[in-house]
């Protein structure tokens, strides 16, 4: 296959996922310029690995490369953001409920219901403020709509056990829920 053909085939298969790639990079790096750099780098890398790709669906494959490129970029430029240590945080409320295992007949408390009219800005700030490893899984699942199987494959390459990934998804969602229901009005937001 000529080089021109190879690039053309690569573009046909992979360029349709440019928005997805940018979205993931943008949510991980939280910066337009950095996301731009990461996306460019990740597509160059993908082209290099392209001969080893034999599938017909390149979305999850490209997102894996974007994810890894983003992490490499962060470790190099903003290593403080990649620090782990949130696994030891206090258990979230959901886990405690499960341990109690009592069917609580308490009535719905309107103040603890998730705000239906949540401010989009507030939501975006709350997601951006999540620790990186929670935020990443949340974006892959909710915005990129990857299946658990696809997320597991990305995690496997990163050396993360599936159980840890699922725990991060649950904790990220739980943390987000707490942020959004505890302060219904405009709140001081960190991150972003």
């Amino acid at each position: 296959m000529g080089n021109g053909d190879r690039i053309r085939r690569f573009e046909q298969l992979v360029l349709p996922h440019l928005d997805a790639a940018y979205n993931l990079a943008r949510w991980i790096t939280r910066n337009d310029h950095d996301a731009d750099d990461v996306v460019n780098e990740s597509f160059v890398r993908a082209l290099r690995y392209f001969d080893g790709f034999h599938g017909t669906e390149a979305r999850a494959w490209q997102l894996t490369i974007v994810r890894n490129t983003s992490y490499t970029w962060l470790k190099t430029n903003r290593p403080a953001e990649v620090v782990h240590g949130h696994e030891g945080d206090a258990p979230d409320i959901g886990t405690q409920d499960a341990r109690n295992a009592a069917c609580d007949a308490r009535e719905n408390d309107p103040e603890t219901r998730l705000l239906q009219a949540a401010d989009a800005d507030l939501l975006n700030q709350a997601i951006a403020a999540l620790p990186l490893e929670f935020r990443e899984v949340l974006i892959l699942r909710e915005l990129q709509e990857l299946s658990y199987k696809e997320i597991a494959e990305i995690a496997e390459i990163a050396g993360i056990p599936m159980g840890t990934v699922m725990s991060r998804l649950a904790r990220g969602r739980s943390q987000l829920q707490r942020r959004l229901t505890r302060h219904p009005g405009k709140e001081h937001a960190d991150g972003m």
Binding site: L47, H54, T76
Partner: protein
């Protein structure tokens, strides 16, 4: 199923990742347990909120051209774009080599995890779907009113397709179209979900159509095939499989 087991499966249930049996056990538990029902509803609300309101960053204008230029120059062996920091280039190179090995292994395995469409009908469905998106011929009747779309098919098909609309659940009807699959004229109903288009092909089921729903993936599209009320359905889109599964469930729901 006990509360503890339900709570352990809340996320998988809301994400559509549970098998049918486990999902049914949860659904049997809910009517008698307001607390678990609330837990499910809260998570479901949160997911919906993120899907609908969180920012989905679109690639800025010019990024496609920049990426293309980067690919061309990298491939020609020209000056390669590097990440801005140069201080740890050796470390990056090692990391890249390792990642490449893993990725190559994964890419070959990944191929086995996906069914490459071998059957003619799957290929036809994909081809019809792609054609409808590319050829400016998405609908023959463009209307979100099912009372306009359904009668339009009268006289054009030898069956009357059920036409439903789900705007509240995020799947509004876009219109309908005549299409041709499996050597016969079929109804194609077009729906939208966020920025994605969904084609629903349906026609009277024959003895060849099994009762077991099937999920397939090909050419970047997800496909769900099932039989319902005597009709064979092929639902195809590039939305994620969980969303498509939700939509397929809506098509099969009572109401």
């Amino acid at each position: 199923m006990e509360c503890e087991q339900v709570r352990a499966r809340v996320h998988a249930y809301v994400d559509g990742e549970l098998d049918v049996l486990a999902a049914q056990e949860i659904e049997a538990h809910l009517p008698g347990c307001p607390a678990c029902a609330r837990a499910i509803r809260d998570q479901s609300d949160l997911s919906a909120l993120i899907r609908d309101r969180a920012e989905y960053f679109a690639a800025p204008p010019g990024l496609t051209e920049r990426v293309r230029a980067g690919l061309a120059s990298a491939d020609a062996g020209g000056p390669r774009r590097t990440l801005r920091s140069r201080t740890r280039r050796e470390w990056l190179a090692v990391g890249l080599a390792l990642a490449a090995t893993v990725l190559l292994t994964w890419a070959v395995t990944y191929m086995d995890l996906r069914r490459v469409p071998e059957q003619t009908l799957e290929r036809e469905v994909i081809a019809s779907h792609v054609r409808s998106l590319l050829a400016q011929h998405l609908t023959d009747v463009a209307s979100s009113d099912r009372h306009t779309v359904k009668p339009w098919f009268e006289g054009k098909l030898d069956f009357s397709p059920p036409v439903r609309d789900f705007p509240a659940q995020g799947f509004p009807l876009v219109g309908g179209r005549l299409d041709y699959l499996d050597r016969r004229a079929v109804a194609a109903l077009v729906y939208r979900h966020r920025k994605h288009l969904i084609n629903v092909f349906l026609w009277p089921a024959t003895a060849n159509h099994g009762n077991t729903p099937q999920r397939l993936t090909g050419r970047g599209f997800h496909i769900i095939q099932f039989t319902h009320d005597g009709m064979a359905y092929w639902v195809i889109s590039d939305v994620g499989m969980p969303s498509l599964a939700r939509f397929a469930a809506l098509l099969q729901s009572r109401g």
